[in-house]
Symmetry: C2
DNA sequence: GTCTATAGCATGATAGAC
DNA sequence: GTCTATCATGCTATAGAC
């Protein structure tokens, strides 16, 4: 809080950049994950933008982290059913192809163990699977999901389906990702 | 068959390049999808390699097409159960990370409508979904899958899960893609 | 048919003025 | 803090020798 003025300003500006970047990418779409292109989108020079981030990879990683934060704040929360939250995010994604494209591109690049954001995505996926598996277990305890459903596997499958549908949707935007995910949820929850 | 010698030679050499490329990528892995790197892997200069393909994109598209052909010939066929075939391919993929990496990277790039291989992947996914949906319908007719399962949606979901698991597997190779897909198939086929 | 050499472009990063 | 300018790199594609 009581940090030096210039430092606090830097932090604030960083946040502002991330927010604007998200907004611009959501509204105007996005081709390549290049610093130059993003810089002019947020009305800075390339050097000006990179002044706040140590590298291209950190920049885009932070944009995606911010996006997760915003999505969680918008579609998550105590009162909302986890599946509704997920479907909310996915429906929203269908309105922001640029963000989907950016995510797919960066997460794909980060699969290389040498990529600076590799650890970030490893942790992110592990965390999401964990939360989802926990939810499935709770549903099983409540008798709403059969016991022969494997929570960990279903969690990985659910996340995988959401990811994979993005590819198919980008290739053919007539595909409704949310509807498909809802159908998957029906498959998971139906009682034998 | 009875084409001019030089032309036939060109075709034959093209095929040989694709076969060797597949083999090398499968054995030694693959970092970036660059023509240079592949060229030295198949023991040609970059220019020598590009003599047989009009562009980088065509080259990698043809490698992936060839891979599909090989996979179909190896794990497909009349006598083999479609799910066994798919699981065979997926199990095999776990032995060839380089091919998985190449596929994910190229298919992601091709999501851009401007990408030269865009149409190839649009058609490929539509075809695979179609075949799978047809299979689900047959299973329904045989009474082995419930009628409230939507063949088209399940087809898209199955393919999506297979794709998405690749990302998770590359980030954490301890994940068994084939086991997960088998579990998904159980979810689809269990009777309510 | 295959090579060497190079053109031509896009990128990320940095130096230095203001 | 932000800019302009530039550097260094990596890439695809092509020209031209052999």
């Amino acid at each position: 809080m009581a940090r030096r003025g210039s430092y606090a300003k830097g932090i604030a500006k960083r946040e502002e950049i991330l927010t604007v970047a998200l907004d611009v990418i959501a509204r105007t779409g996005y081709r390549r994950a290049s610093v130059r292109e993003l810089a002019e989108a947020v009305d800075l020079s390339q050097a000006g933008l990179l002044h706040y981030f140590t590298s291209k990879e950190e920049l885009f990683q932070e944009i995606l982290r911010k996006r997760d934060d915003v999505d969680l704040a918008t579609y998550g929360g105590e009162s909302v059913h986890p599946i509704d939250g997920l479907l909310g995010v996915i429906s929203h994604n269908q309105e922001v192809p640029g963000l989907v494209q950016l995510y797919v591109q960066v997460s794909t690049d980060a699969c290389d163990p040498e990529h600076p954001s590799h650890a970030f995505f490893v942790e992110r996926y592990a965390r999401i699977r964990d939360v989802f598996a926990q939810f499935v277990r709770a549903e099983q305890a409540a008798g709403r999901i059969d016991d022969d459903v494997d929570p960990e596997r279903v969690a990985a499958l659910f996340v995988a389906a959401a990811d994979g549908l993005q590819t198919q949707w980008m290739l053919d935007p007539s595909i409704d990702m949310a509807q498909h995910m809802l159908h998957l949820w029906h498959l998971i929850t139906r009682r034998v």
